[in-house]
Symmetry: C2
């Protein structure tokens, strides 16, 4: 349990810092989310480079997604994605039933409005990881009941 | 090796972000170091709470320091402190021969001037951890040849 704690605490501090140094307002919230997403993107890029150093090439897009759900997720969150679904047309839904970066918050709907800032970094993380595997994507997140969380990946065909 | 990577990458992003958003100048550098140290302090406080949840009380100050060198260090950096020395008068020197947050940088003296910003968070981390164990301290760091690093802890008697 303590294994992923340094990462979690640092992640929380970073959110707090970004929100504290910014001015208030709706526009600013959007900008903070973007900053967090960008940070995640770069961390995702770095992680993929390190994780795939000795692995073989991936067969196809689905194979890449499975790698993200297993190895990549385990590296960051010490667990795998619980469920991966796809419409086979470039949309993937990754479901984590106990998402670590939300698990410190009260379960249920009480702090649902606070969820986006705790998800932005991870959306970027996935997008950055995929990007370095040659898959361009848009990643969004959705929470209905904490700490469960769904990440939707829309592959951008080039 | 990939285990501590998310933390390392996030730590780097945080430093970059803090330095990027600040204005230039000598004073600002000091302020950034303080910001990083403060973040580390809070992360250290949180970590100690989680790590010591089920442990017995510590016999004395030296016992606390040993805990920091072993369990605490391993939790964050996946290795122990290599050498702990004390003058038995409230000064402790913790030496890490391969400090993870410096290991990505070129060994030797080339980037020695960049070291302080990579050490500030960890100084805070140790200070925060000790603080939550009832030990008030001042923590500074010193690098002579990367990636080896010494943290000096000066206990503040109350």
């Amino acid at each position: 349990m303590a294994d992923e704690a340094p990462f979690q605490f640092l992640h929380n501090e970073m959110i707090q810092y970004i929100y504290k140094t910014a001015e208030n307002g709706e526009t600013e919230n959007g900008r903070n989310i973007t900053k967090l997403e960008t940070m995640g993107f770069r961390v995702g890029q770095g992680l993929i480079e390190r994780l795939t150093k000795d692995t073989a090439r991936y067969k196809d897009e689905l194979d890449v997604m499975k790698f993200i759900c297993k190895d990549f997720w385990t590296c960051v969150f010490k667990k795998q994605i619980d469920n991966l679904r796809t419409n086979h047309q470039g949309i993937y839904v990754l479901q984590d039933n106990k998402f670590r970066l939300l698990s410190q918050m009260s379960a249920g709907k009480q702090y649902l409005d606070q969820a986006p800032k705790y998800l932005a970094f991870t959306c970027g993380l996935v997008r950055g990881g995929l990007s370095n595997l040659g898959v361009k994507s848009i990643v969004t997140a959705e929470v209905s009941v904490m700490p469960a969380c769904k990440f939707q990946v829309m592959i951008q065909k080039v």
